[in-house]
């Protein structure tokens, strides 16, 4: 088990280092001089050169990489050109929206998908399965912003239960803040739940054909008990893989939903930073997301070992 853990950890760190080199290199190669951008088109070459020196843009490449990477490690991401505030403050502010949003959406998606998957798998080919999987097919096909618009129409405009958009901030109290995240979370969760339900169903169906399911039934366990106690845990590996991927998407890929609901999340921050060539912000957020994805993958890998004892004892 320790060997497994150390191996995964080493791989995770190596991936992180590699990713940071790629991110750094790509932004180096991209055309556009940040100093020139900050000073505007009318600045003289001398002024630009001066600022470049100030910003350390003229130092040798490896040194700049190390400086930048070292800064990342101490959470010093540098200053945003456009906002003129430390990037860390920007990110922190946005994460306060994006992280809870992603977590709520992920939780919702899991809570919906696993029971639907279990229901469908245990009724394979019958009417209930057809209906559930038809709904899931629809959920995969319909884009999440359409769900968002429908949700706004029903719950905000018509029933007036929740605000149609905007985020009051956590300072406004827990419930108002949560309330404004509820609809976006549901809109994000539905398509994800649809995918996850299909994965759960097919993983379960495969497991239900295994010999040990028959052994469990031959012990006298009712079908439901066999499903929950024996089948579900064995079907968890593909489900966990998809969950890991979904979390990464939910953290960064929410720009459309953030726009629909006027939420100040990470997605909008990156989008604005890219259009304004605020490269330090782009770099930082990308690295943050890379780190998050790697951390989630590590977590998923470890949870495999928790689920499956064979992985614990293998080298």
């Amino acid at each position: 088990m320790t060997v497994y853990l150390l191996k995964r950890l080493t791989i995770a760190i190596a991936t992180l280092v590699l990713a940071s080199i790629v991110v750094f290199a790509v932004l180096e190669i991209l055309p556009g001089d940040p100093a020139r951008l900050m000073l505007g088109m009318n600045a003289s070459a001398d002024q630009v050169e001066l600022l470049r020196n100030q910003m350390g843009l003229n130092a040798p490449l490896p040194w700049r990489y190390l400086h930048w990477a070292g800064g990342l490690l101490s959470l010093d991401f540098g200053r945003s050109y456009t906002y003129s505030v430390p990037v860390i403050d920007l990110v922190r502010e946005r994460l306060a929206v994006s992280l809870p949003l992603a977590l709520i959406a992920l939780a919702l998606s899991t809570i919906i998908a696993i029971p639907v998957g279990l229901f469908s798998a245990s009724r394979r080919g019958r009417a209930g399965d057809t209906v559930a999987m038809g709904a899931a097919q629809l959920g995969v096909a319909v884009p999440n912003f359409w769900f968002a618009l429908m949700l706004i129409y029903v719950f905000a405009v018509w029933l007036r239960l929740v605000p149609a958009g905007g985020f009051p901030g956590w300072g406004a109290g827990l419930w108002p803040a949560l309330k404004s995240l509820l609809l976006p979370a549901v809109a994000l969760a539905l398509p994800q739940a649809a995918i996850l339900a299909r994965v759960t169903r097919s993983a379960l169906i495969e497991v239900l054909n295994e010999d040990y399911i028959r052994t469990a039934r031959a012990k006298g366990l009712p079908y439901r008990a066999v499903l929950w106690r024996h089948a579900l845990r064995n079907a968890m590996i593909p489900v966990l893989t998809i969950l890991g991927l979904q979390f990464a998407f939910l953290l960064a890929g929410t720009i459309i939903i953030e726009n629909v609901f006027y939420l100040p999340g990470l997605g909008r921050l990156v989008f604005q930073a890219i259009t304004q060539r605020d490269l330090i912000v782009v770099e930082s957020v990308v690295m943050l997301l890379v780190a998050a994805v790697i951390a989630v993958n590590l977590l998923v890998d470890l949870s495999y070992a928790v689920v499956d004892p064979r992985l614990r004892s293998r080298q």
Binding site: T2, Y212, N234
Partner: protein
């Protein structure tokens, strides 16, 4: 009164009739043997009694267990019976246990479910039961996972699950088919002891007539879902009144007619294995430590003449398949040399091995797993042709495949079919056709008939013998089944713990084994004639 009474049972799955008017009974303390070839409905009979049939199955007739009408019982009633009064042991121990639960949990689960015992109580009972089936908790703690056990040990766990609550009826569906003969004998002994201990009824399902004869008091012979013959085991098999019974008995003792050794004494040896050893690195126990290397094959030497047929026998895990892989140049020895037609194959590159590859081919055990299901027979059988120096033209290839199919008794029109259109025996013929298409000098056959029914097995053994005579192919048969060795080989090598412990003429070694390993194998091997004789003797 009978414990289990099956009367006029008919079963259909979809539109396919599986059982037709099946009759069967088992009394307490009695062993009933249910024999038949694959597809005869043996397993479906077992699943009917357990009511674990596939959804599309429809049963009619009467199945009475201990006075309960099984076919009319509700699912709740069945859940109360399963695992408590009726236990079942399945064929494949490798997949019968849940890989993510410990053996203790899996044995205790049924106990807790049926008796509402506390966790500790149930674990105590599970410990006792595992101890009873030969897995003492000092050596096999309850916290073991199935993957930490061997096939034979796993089958013991499955038996412990089935017998944990002292069922009145135990159904054992091919309980030893996946095990080697020595393990088979141990498991059969265990089952017999459990029967006498608690007057349990045992329904033993098997395709192996010898196993059933050794075990069963009465026997039912099933074919295409119909009972051909039923009655006292000794009488049924000694008289062999029914033609199908006779056919089965003869097929399971079948020895192909062979002229005496072919081509032996020719000048050059075909295969020389000299001092070959194969080590595998031990398991990593921590970051910096490994268990010592595992020596799978230990200083083995052997030689084969052209056209000679040699058996390599031994228990599972003795290193025989590893040795075969090295002979086929699919794996390299840690030390020692292997010469094929005088030339070393142990230090050659893949390109240099091509001529050797052309002259050695392989036939595997599982005719289901060794073909790509999406390719047509013509392509599958022609696969080894790529080792030829000159690539054959389409027409030539077609001609060669047709010829190979003809030689193994298939029709050349079979070329356009897919593997699933063939039966198990026909598929094994296909793999033999694939092996002989390059006119090899040596064919290595790894348990080539273990997965086949007795009558098909007899045909395939005949085919091997015929091809040996006709084409002068030398065989290396890897098997744990001594009757196969006896049927088609001149010489036998007995392997144990990576070493060859005995060698000699097949009949001499099998009739008068000298080494301990060979003796164990010979004693454990089921033998129909011996079993009938013993039964007759017991009954006077």
């Amino acid at each position: 009164m009978s414990l289990l009474e099956v009367e006029n049972l008919s079963l259909t799955i979809g539109d396919t009739p599986i059982l037709k008017g099946m009759e069967l009974s088992v009394a307490p303390g009695e062993v009933m043997g249910l024999v038949g070839e694959s597809g005869s409905g043996k397993s479906m009979t077992a699943l009917t009694v357990m009511q674990l049939l596939p959804h599309a199955a429809r049963a009619s007739g009467r199945v009475l267990f201990d006075g309960i009408d099984i076919l009319a019982a509700t699912e709740d009633q069945m859940c109360a019976l399963r695992g408590d009064d009726i236990g079942i042991v399945f064929q494949e121990p490798m997949t019968a246990l849940n890989p993510v639960k410990t053996i203790g949990e899996q044995v205790a689960e049924g106990i807790r479910w049926h008796t509402r015992a506390s966790r500790a109580e149930a674990e105590e009972r599970a410990r006792k039961m595992l101890d009873r089936v030969g897995l003492p908790s000092a050596k096999f703690p309850l916290s073991r996972y199935p993957h930490e056990l061997s096939g034979g040990q796993r089958q013991r766990v499955v038996i412990a699950i089935a017998c944990a609550l002292k069922p009145k009826l135990l159904i054992a569906d091919e309980p030893t088919t996946a095990l080697d003969v020595v393990l088979q004998a141990q498991i059969l002994d265990l089952l017999r002891d459990l029967v006498t201990e608690s007057r349990m009824g045992l329904l033993l399902i098997s395709h192996d007539l010898a196993v059933v004869t050794e075990m069963a008091d009465r026997i039912t012979i099933l074919r295409h879902g119909e009972v051909m013959e039923a009655g006292d085991t000794a009488r049924t098999l000694s008289e062999q009144l029914h033609p199908y019974t006779r056919q089965l008995a003869q097929a399971s003792m079948h020895v192909p007619a062979r002229a005496r050794p072919h081509g032996v004494g020719s000048s050059q040896l075909l295969l020389q294995v000299e001092g070959v050893t194969r080590d595998y690195p031990g398991r990593r126990t921590s970051l910096f430590r490994r268990a010592p290397d595992i020596r799978a094959v230990d200083d083995v030497s052997l030689s084969m003449a052209p056209g000679q047929s040699v058996a390599l026998v031994g228990r599972s895990g003795c290193g025989k398949s590893t040795l075969a892989r090295m002979i086929l140049a699919l794996d390299r020895p840690s030390s020692g040399t292997i010469r094929f037609r005088g030339e070393s194959i142990t230090d050659k590159s893949e390109a240099e091995l091509k001529p050797a590859r052309r002259d050695m081919q392989v036939v595997f055990q599982d005719p289901y797993g060794s073909f790509d299901p999406r390719q047509k027979v013509e392509k599958l059988v022609a696969e080894p042709l790529h080792v030829l120096d000159k690539k054959p033209t389409r027409a030539e290839r077609h001609e060669m495949v047709a010829h190979a199919l003809h030689e193994v008794g298939l029709d050349q029109r079979d070329m356009d079919k897919y593997p699933h259109e063939f039966s198990g025996g026909q598929r094994q013929r296909l793999s033999i056709a694939r092996a002989i298409i390059t006119r090899p000098k040596l064919v290595v056959a790894d348990e080539p008939v273990s997965a086949l029914d007795v009558s098909i097995r007899a045909q395939i053994l005949d085919l091997f013998a015929e091809l040996n005579q006709k084409l002068g192919i030398a065989y290396l048969f890897i098997t744990h089944d001594l009757s196969v060795a006896r049927a088609v080989t001149d010489e036998v090598l007995v392997m144990h713990d990576g070493k060859i412990v005995e060698r000699g003429k097949t009949n001499e070694v099998l009739d008068h084994p000298q080494s301990e390993a060979a003796k164990v194998l010979v004693t454990a091997a089921p033998n129909l004639q011996r079993a009938i004789a013993r039964r007759m003797q017991e009954q006077g």
